[in-house]
């Protein structure tokens, strides 16, 4: 079981043969893999339905101006951005979230 764990950390399966090689492999990944890569928050947390009622979930996606944060900044995937968009718009009609703030 512990062998198995090591394998997943090393990256690809079946590569963790020699120990030295394993370490090198790790380092290589570090170089190619940008630390700040954006990932869709909803995919990570496995949220399938974005509800307009959860203001706590929505607020991180509305910066101080009150606009919906674009995908290129938040890193949300297309599917969840669409869901997020409708949720935010619904929440706006119910005055849970502002349209504009200045």
């Amino acid at each position: 079981m512990s062998d198995y764990d090591k394998d997943t950390r090393g990256g690809g399966g079946g590569r963790g043969a020699a120990k030295g090689k394993d370490d090198k492999d790790k380092a290589g990944r570090r170089g190619g893999f940008f630390r700040r890569r954006r990932v869709c928050k909803f995919c990570v947390e496995k949220i399938d339905y974005v509800s307009y009622k959860d203001v706590k979930v929505l607020t991180p996606f509305i910066p101080e101006r009150g606009k919906i944060q674009p995908r290129r900044i938040s890193g949300t995937c297309a599917k969840h951005q669409r869901a997020l968009q409708t949720a935010i718009k619904r929440a706006r009609t119910l005055a849970l979230i502002p349209y504009v703030t200045d």
């Binding site: 198995y4 950390r9 790790k26 630390r35 496995k46 399938d48 339905y49 009622k53 619904r90 706006r92 009609t93 119910l94 005055a95 849970l96 979230i97 502002p98 349209y99």
Partner: protein
Amino acid sequence: MSIHRQYELVYIAMPDSTEEQLAELHQQVATVVDRFGGTIERTEPWGRRRLAYEIGRQREGVYVLEILNGPGAMTTELDRRLRVLDIVMRHLVIRVDEVLAKESRSQTRRKSATVARRLRRGLPAEPTEQELSRRKQENDDADGPDGFGEGDR
């Protein structure tokens, strides 16, 4: 016989409305739902909340959420009624059955996929206590300042 679907109705009543007025409003909604052969599944009063922006000089509102089952014609009627009432500042009716079904479907699919994967790896179907505690620890570590300078993950 019309098809019944699930809807969510949220309305915001005036902040100065009394308990009786709110009860009456609920009653009115109930009568409309009843007339169309629908049912009220649940009523969730969220209570008085601050509005994100002013609606007709008001800064607060009394929110009520009702989960309804009924035909589509019911929603049009509810919409019409609620628009006329002065005590209701804002309302929203949305259909939820489809998205909720979709959500539960993808969640069960995900769960069964996890179980299948675990079995293929020769692990028990459910995560063991040990794994859970380790995972929790890893999550706690990941919650650091900005995720820099930690191990190989």
